[in-house]
Amino acid sequence: MSGQTGVATIEVEVTYAGSRKGPWKQAYEPSAQLSKVRGDAMAHFEVADSTDASGNQIVYKLMHGGDTLNDLTKTVGAESGDKPHLELRLVRQVIAG
């Protein structure tokens, strides 16, 4: 079952290169969804999804390595692959002119 791992909690570390703040860390149960991590990380780094002056949506996404995490219903446990630590990056989706 998705989210079942051998660890009780998984330490998730999120970095955001657009902030002076250093990496943010929080322990989650393996069953926690990535949507929760994204929301918590965005609150920590004080960023929000928004719309620019031209009406384009600006959205923040999570990345793991070189991959974009589009399925935010996926669990932290499934994404970490049974490991007790997960490093993610928060990235703004840039809008072309």
């Binding site: 290169a17 902030s19 719309t51 620019d52 600006i58 990345m63 974009t68």
Partner: protein
Amino acid sequence: MSEVQAELNLAKDLEQIQAIAAEAGWEVSSPDKLVVEVSVRSSVDGERYWLRFRCAGYPDQPPSIACFDKGAGSQQVRSAWPQCQGFRADNTWDLCLPLSVEGFNAHPAWRDDPKVRWNANGNPLLRSIEELQLLLNDATKYSGRLR
């Protein structure tokens, strides 16, 4: 800002980029003190693109960004460019995005828009690379290599 200060600022941020490059799947080199070259692989089709960042005035000024052919060293090679929103091959050979000096010159209003204006906080070069990686991973905005 002096050129030496910009070089020092860039060197510090480059260290952080090199530390995460392997995990992110990037190749990183710096052939000159204010120039950084990074290869980024699209997760859509596995194609890899080399991006050259010219970082005068770093981090206060956005970099000049272009794709280039690693073998020829030239940015005026169509096959070095992706078909992707904001990437302008052929005539201008630049990126029209709120990440590059060319983008901000083409859209002066971006400089005053708090949602997209240049953000010199944190590690702006890393943020730019990550945002370009995200763009190349988006199948709704990227459709393969130019031929």
